[in-house]
């Protein structure tokens, strides 16, 4: 009995230390983003509880971000690009998955191999040649350039495909006998039954887009189409002085995925687990 008690005491101690390692930098950012600029440096050394607790709360950093640095536009851009990628990514991906799980057709194996290949393919490999191509299309510095190349997503097709595979085929057959066209079967039977996988896929796409850095870095030149992650990195590379604004920008970049993931965590984890455990 005592042995069991000590193991769980160790376990708690460990868990708490690990939780602090994860949370302290974020807590520090959150607190600092509500401080006047001078106060941040004041509480840095020595580190006390005050380092992680705000004294004079001010929204100055957030006001400056939106009023002086055009962060509103950046924030909107990122949200817009991510949302459009989710909508079209879900549509295009689920349709392809529907084709794979419902029909037998010539070239199916090749097409599926392309899906798997692109799902394993890291974006970094294609980023630079993709830039040359998108540049020739004239899409650099536009929403098209940020959105269209990212719509078709092998991972999303794969997720939907796995879900559709487990659906009873009899459902579709009876609808077909009633004379429903295939698009109606897809849109009125299959998709309404696929809410969990749709939420998982939507979360995966949104977070992937929200956090993407390399493509927004090379596909955008002007401030007009800047996305949040690039704006964040600009703070480090160009304007290292305004720590309070830097922290506010970090908080804004974290808060959106957190708001989505807190209630929908289960779906995200399920989506993730499905990509990892099956072949």
């Amino acid at each position: 009995m005592t042995r069991k008690w000590t193991t769980s005491a160790y376990s708690y101690a460990f868990q708490i230390i690990l939780a602090l390692i994860v949370l302290l930098p974020i807590a520090f950012a959150l607190v600092s983003s509500f401080r006047p600029l001078d106060d941040i440096f004041k509480y840095l050394s020595p580190v006390t509880w005050k380092t992680f607790w705000p004294g004079n709360v001010t929204f100055e950093a957030y006001e400056n971000l939106f009023a002086l640095r055009g962060f509103g536009r950046t924030f909107f851009n990122t949200f817009f690009v991510s949302a459009v990628c989710v909508i079209f990514g879900l549509l295009v991906g689920s349709m392809a998955a529907f084709a794979f799980s419902t029909f037998e057709f010539a070239g199916k194996k090749t097409a599926f191999a392309i899906v798997i290949l692109t799902f394993m393919l890291p974006f970094e490999i294609i980023a630079i040649p993709l830039y040359s191509f998108v540049n020739r299309l004239g899409w650099i510095d536009s929403y098209s350039g940020l959105i269209i190349p990212n719509i078709a997503n092998g991972l999303v097709i794969f997720l939907f495909y796995q879900f559709f595979q487990d659906m009873p085929k009899a459902l579709f057959e009876s609808a077909r006998i009633d004379g429903a066209a295939w698009f109606r079967v897809y849109s009125q039977i299959t998709m309404p039954l696929s809410k969990p996988v749709t939420v998982s896929a939507a979360l995966l796409i949104f977070i992937q887009q929200w956090e993407s850095f390399l493509w927004p870095l090379i596909a955008v030149r002007s401030k007009e189409y800047k996305l949040i992650q690039v704006a964040l990195s600009d703070f480090v590379t160009d304007i290292m002085t305004y720590w309070n604004e830097m922290f506010a920008a970090v908080v804004l970049s974290i808060i959106v995925p957190v708001i989505l993931l807190l209630p929908l965590q289960r779906y995200y984890v399920e989506g993730i687990a499905n990509t990892g455990s099956k072949e």
């Binding site: 994860v22 057709f105 929200w210 870095l217 992650q229 480090v236």
Partner: protein, 287 residues
């Protein structure tokens, strides 16, 4: 009627497949081809040079240094992240009170992008005013230069990337652990298996599939990791963090040398394929 029927699957498939072919497959092919040409900026022409770009790389000490940094980085960060993710998954699989809260906390870095993690830790690690150095001083230790020193920059990036990455990889392994039926452990217990034996003979074989996935995915992600080096160090100090992906990016966008940039990406792609194939072989053999 019949011919129309034949078209249906292709219509469903078309938008996705067109997107994948145009924006994923074609760029790879194009990258392979571009690596065989040089761009002449003044005359705006391309010249076929065969393996010229690759031969230039082979003679280029900057490339070799960059390859060395990439391999060193991966030899440390991949085993580290896999071990930490595995350990964390086991810890989070303990059925103790409040475990849901601890799981949620470890899940938080998923919501933190790599650039956010870089900004956060760049300030935490700031040599003059950073929190880490304040803590070191409070403990009576010497303050460290971290990212500003060529001997510590790569290690600092390894720590930052792991802080951000481990929680995500843990998700896969935790899901795998939760799928192992309790009855197998109970049976092993009755047969008198020790904790270590249970781990070797039950946990490892049962978790092989997600583990293989994590090993391969971690390796691919880190071989091509780019943003921390770009944001935090620009490859320095003294090229100590100049990984191949960054070198390729700089060749393309700082020196407008698309041929060299593409050749480096092709080298990276081949390297990744070789390493991943090897990992698959080794993990399958154990399976």
């Amino acid at each position: 009627m019949k011919t129309k029927q034949h078209l249906v699957p292709y219509l469903f498939l078309l938008p996705a497949l067109a997107g994948l072919l145009l924006f994923k497959i074609y760029p790879i092919m194009n990258g392979l081809i571009q690596s065989l040409f040089t761009n002449h900026f003044l005359s705006q022409t391309k010249k076929f040079v065969g393996l010229g770009n690759y031969l230039d790389l082979a003679k280029d000490p900057v490339f070799w240094k960059s390859l060395f940094v990439t391999l060193k980085f991966n030899l440390v960060i991949n085993p580290l992240q896999i071990a930490l993710a595995f350990g964390l998954a086991i810890l989070l699989n303990h059925k103790i009170r409040g475990i849901a809260l601890f799981r949620a906390v470890q899940f938080v870095p998923v919501a933190v992008s790599v650039p956010s993690a870089c900004v956060l830790w760049n300030i935490m690690m700031s040599p003059e005013q950073g929190v880490l150095n304040s803590i070191l001083i409070a403990l009576g230790l010497e303050p460290q230069p971290f990212l500003a020193s060529s001997s510590q920059a790569l290690w600092s990036i390894i720590l930052i990337a792991s802080w951000k990455g481990v929680g995500y990889w843990t998700l896969f392994l935790l899901a795998g652990l939760q799928e192992i039926p309790r009855s197998i452990y109970e049976a092993a217990c009755i047969d008198g298996a020790t904790g270590w034996q249970q781990f070797r003979k039950v946990t490892i074989p049962m978790i092989m599939r997600p583990l293989t996935f994590v090993v391969v995915s971690v390796t691919i992600a880190n071989l091509l990791l780019f943003s921390p080096m770009y944001i935090l160090t620009g490859g320095g100090p003294q090229r100590s963090t100049n990984v191949l992906m960054l070198e390729s990016y700089n060749s393309a966008f700082m020196y407008s040398d698309m041929g060299r940039s593409s050749a480096i990406v092709v080298v990276l792609l081949i390297m990744t394929l070789l390493i991943v194939t090897m990992q698959f072989r080794m993990l399958r053999a154990k399976h």
